[in-house]
Every structure is written in C-alpha cells, then in structure tokens.
C-alpha cells in the first residue's frame, strides 16, 4: 500500500464535552459562560472540554500537551469518536466525524485512523504478528497480504525475529513498538498517539521518539500526539496546543510557545526548556538591510548550533539563507545569545 498520503487535515470546531447523566441540559449554560467549578458544584456534571478549536494541517505532527486531568486524552478520543462530543464538529478531510452513523464510523476507523495507546492495549493471547495484522484482519484483507504488510512494519520498528512471541514476553519498549507496528500496518492517513511513550523509561522514550520522527519523514501522516511532557512535545511537534482544565490556553509552533508563552502557566512550563535547541534563527533574525554580512547560516538552524558556528569563526554577524542559498535575514550574535538565555520575567514569574 502506498505511503505517500498528502495528508488529511483535521479541524476541530467549537468542541464541548460535558460528562454526567444529562449533559445536553447544561450545554447552553456552559456556552453562556458557566464555569467548570459552578457546573460541578451545582449540577454535579464535569466539564471535560470547553470550546476547543484546533486546525491540524495534513501530514504534520500536532502535539496536544497538558497535565493529567486537562482533557487531552478525552480530546484525542473525539477524533475517532471513541467518545461522543456534547457539541461541536470534528472535520476530518471533508467529513464531520460527529455526524457519522455507526457503519460510516466503523469504516472511518478502519481506513482513516489508527491509534497507539499509553498502556499498549495489545491482545495478550495473540503473538506479535497476529497483533500487528489486527487492523487488516478485521477489514477482511487476504491473510497473505496482511502478513506481508505486518512483517514489513515489524521489521521497520526493529522487531525482526519476535513475530511469534507473545506480548508479555517483551519489554515495555518492545510492546509499544508492536503497538506502533499495528497502527502503521493499518496504513491509515491519520495516526492517533495517546501518551504513546509516557509509560516507557526515559532512554527508551527518546529512542521511540527517534523511531517516530524517522518514520514520519517517510510516511508523512497526520499525527496527533498527546503528551504531558514538554520536552517530548518540543521534540516531536510541528505544532503544539496546550490544554488546561479542558481549554486550549495556547497553540502555535514550538518556537512561538517558547518565545511568547501566553500566560504564567505556560511560562512555568517553558522555563526549564533548553531554548538554544528549540528556537531557530528564523525567529531572531532581523530583515536584511543592504548586503548580507558574515557567514551564511541555513534557515531552520537552532540557536545553539548557529552560536557555535559564529563563535568558532569569530563572527559577530551572519546572514540566514533559505534552502536555495538566497539570503533572507541578518543575524547578530548578541541577539542569538540573548534569545538562548531564559528571560528574567520567566524566572521571576514562578
């Protein structure tokens, strides 16, 4: 099956989720401004998600970050409607998932999405190979073809030789590779990853992040990745949305979030980030005035690397070039370094 999906975008519009016995009764009040606390104390309903609006462009990795209880796992389950929303739209491609009937939803889940879970959720009575073919098996694909695709992805995630092992003969990291292979074998354009690496040891987590980033260069799927770990979010995300108490507090590229945190909540997160490895020169360059000065630095280079290049060659000025080598901006070593240092207002904000 072909991997070159141009990518299907996901657009979440005015999404609300209220948990409780009669959510419809309170949706208007919530839209009118009733707070989460009030809804909980007076009516014993929990506001899970409030007015979520996120546009996820096709073929890129969208990270949704938040602490436990922020509603991030609830949000990702709305994309394949494992949870039904109280109000709102989830547009995938040009279809509204919320309006699908049972058959349409089943077809949608079979062909458009695949999911990786925090607790792996492998079938314990099936071997690695039998787990990996699951998506194709229930689609009714011939067994030979199921196995062909499954074996390729098992090998691609580095599990050669483990095809006939049962999940609990494998370590956590290896089990999640099975989870990833199972999702990729499905060959759906959308990959939903719910805290997929959170249960793994830090080193194995890094390893799995690299596996995902490597694969993504090749498969270009629309990945929705849920995490509570900012480092992971910054490493993986093309775009990041930060969720708190069921609301999006900020969304944008990782550089926008690190450089311009919307409030103190996010400041407190990004304070610990190694800014030199996240922010690229594009964010600090000034428009070219006159001839480009100093050495050329490729657009997209992170500050740490460019500072090293500039200090190594003793240059205080440089210019940024685009992919074709055309100069697009000017760079001053002072600005580069000051952008790498955590600003004072972030320090004191804590």
């Amino acid at each position: 099956m072909a991997e070159q999906h141009t990518g299907i975008g996901i657009s979440i519009k005015n999404l609300y989720k209220i948990f409780g016995s009669n959510p419809e009764a309170y949706i208007d009040a919530v839209k009118g401004g009733m707070t989460k606390t009030e809804l909980n104390e007076k009516h014993n309903h929990v506001l899970g998600l409030k007015d979520i609006n996120i546009d996820m462009p096709g073929g890129s990795i969208q990270v949704v970050m938040g602490l436990s209880g922020s509603g991030k796992s609830t949000l990702i389950r709305h994309i394949n409607r494992l949870i039904d929303p109280t109000a709102g739209e989830v547009i995938v491609g040009d279809e509204d998932v919320v309006k699908m009937n049972e058959t349409e939803l089943r077809e949608f889940r079979r062909h458009r999405t695949a999911m990786v879970f925090q607790k792996f959720a492998l079938l314990p009575h099936r071997t690695v190979l039998e787990n990996t073919v699951y998506g194709l098996e229930i689609q009714g694909v011939p067994r030979e073809e199921q196995e062909k695709h499954a074996r390729r992805w098992i090998s691609r995630v580095g599990l050669d030789g483990f095809e006939d092992n049962y999940p609990n003969q494998l370590s956590g990291g290896m089990q999640q590779r099975v989870g990833l292979a199972r999702a990729l074998t499905n060959d759906a354009p959308i990959l939903l990853m719910d805290e997929a690496f959170s249960a793994l040891d830090p080193l194995i987590r890094m390893d799995m992040q690299s596996v995902l980033l490597d694969l993504q260069k090749e498969i270009r799927k629309t990945v929705v990745f849920i995490t509570h770990d900012l480092d992971e979010a910054l490493r993986l995300g093309d775009r990041i949305a930060i969720l708190r108490d069921g609301e999006v507090v900020q969304q944008g590229t990782k550089q926008e979030i690190v450089l311009r945190p919307a409030d103190e909540y996010i400041s407190s997160f990004v304070r610990e980030v190694n800014r030199g490895r996240v922010i690229s020169v594009d964010m600090v360059m000034t428009p070219l005035s006159g001839e480009p000065q100093g050495m050329p630095i490729r657009s997209g280079t992170v500050l740490e690397v460019s500072a090293k290049k500039m200090t190594d060659s003793n240059a205080s000025f440089a210019h940024v070039t685009d992919a074709d080598g055309k100069p697009i901006g000017a760079l001053d070593i002072q600005e580069v370094i000051s952008a790498m240092v955590t600003p004072v207002d972030h320090e004191t904000a804590a």
């Binding site: 089943r106 949608f108 492998l122 079938l123 699951y134 229930i138 049962y166 609990n168």
Partner: protein, 295 residues
Amino acid sequence: MEWLTEFPDLGTSTLRNIRLTVDGAFRDFTRAYGESIELLFEPVKWFLINSENFMTDMPWPLILGIVAVLVWIASRSWKITLSSVVVLIVIGLFGMWEDTMKTIAMTFVATVLAIIFGIPIGIGMSRSNRVQSVVNPILDIMQTMPSFVYLIPVIMLFGIGKVPGLIAVIIYAIPPIIRLTNLGIRLVDKDVLEAADAFGSSSWQRLKNVQMPLALPTIMAGINQTIMMALAMVVVASMVGVQGLGQQVLRAINNQYFTLGVLNGLAIVGVAIIFDRASQAYGQRLQRHTEVVHG
C-alpha cells in the same frame, strides 16, 4: 391476644382455592400442550439415547482408548491420562462398567446442552445490565430451589424417564457456566476493548477476537463447575428414572446395602475427578500465553 400468636394468614379456604386453581390450570396446560412440548424435546431424547448406546455398545477397550486419547489431548499429562485409565479399570473390575458408561453419557449430554444454552445467555447478560438484572434472580432460584420441586411440573409434563431427569440436571448445572461467561466477558480489560473499537471492529469481531478469547479461562472454570454439578445430580435424577450409578446408589439407600452404596458413590467420585483434572488442565493450557512474563 390470639391475633399476636397466630399469624393472620389468608385462611384455609382461600389458600386451598389458590392451590386448586394453579394446579388445575397447570394440569389443563399439560393436557393441552404436553404432547407438543414432548415433541419439542425429541431431539434431546435422541441425543441422549444415542450417547448412551454409543457408550454401552462400544467394546470396553475402545472406550478406555478413547478416554485416554481425550484426556491426553486436554491435559497433555501422562500422570492424569494414566490415572484416568486406572480409575476406569478399577470401576470395571468392581462390576460398575455399564452404569458408569450411562452416567458419563448423561453427564456429557447435560454438559453439552448447558454449554450450548449457557454461553449465549451469559454473553447476553454481559452486554446488557437489564438482562443481567433479570437473569440473575432466575439463576438464584435455579440453584437454591430444591430440585424435587421443579421436578414436579417436569414429571407432570413428561412422566418418568430420561428427559425429565436430564432437564433437572441441566437446570441445576447450567448456572455456573452462565454466571462465569458473564463475569469473564465483563472482566475483559477495557483498554484492549477500546483498541479493538479504535481499529473499527464490529461488535461480532469484538466478541470473537477479544472478549471470548480473553474470557475463555473464566468460561472454562464455569464448564468445569457445570460438569461437577451435573455429576452431583445423577442420584436425584435417578429418582425420576435415569439409569446409571445414581440408580444403584438409590437402590443401596432403599435396601441399606452399605457396600453397594459406597462402591457406586466412589465410582461417581472417580468419574468426577477424571473430568475435573482433564478440564482444569485444559483451562490452564489455554492461558499459556500469560505464563512467560518478561523479566
């Protein structure tokens, strides 16, 4: 003060009228539908008679061989297989071969029917809390109501014979398999079920690929219990005309034949142990995938 010491019941004549009305209505029902209901149970009778004939007509060495092979397939254990054969040989030496064969046939038929009806009912219960709340009290009644009580209407319908005995055995033996099928499916890990949903499983695929396989060890425990309870009922069943070891026990009770009673009782125990060890070992083997845990 008489109204305090005597419970104010409905009165003798009212109670007698109730009894007469219900009994009369049931007798009319029996007369009207008895034959068609009996016809309905014709296939069951056929199944039971053929199983019995198979067991009693088959040469005894062949039966020993079949039992050995089946126990081996289920348990993969020489110890269990060998003990089963020895137990059957001892039973045969003491002259109880034919009765034992009849009892095994009866237990087999009762268990097969209990599985055929019990598992779908258990699945239905697991899918709906409403069904569960209706079926549960019925199962409670089936397990606690003295079997002689529900034998009365059964005998009124069928008379004395194999079929009423079989029905009594099934009523008593079916609850564990229903309960444990329900429990097993309800205990299946929610995360795995969610994964099955996320890949677009239909509800049949969910049942076939996830719920039943993961509930199977629990269901096997239910089948084991059902077999044991069916064996425990053979004495009661013999009172309505089921032949086999139970009938001999009944004869021993009536005539105070101590040795006959003990021998036939021990034969029932022996058959029970063979069934139990073989089915438990099979249940254990089904869970092999959970044994090898990553260190």
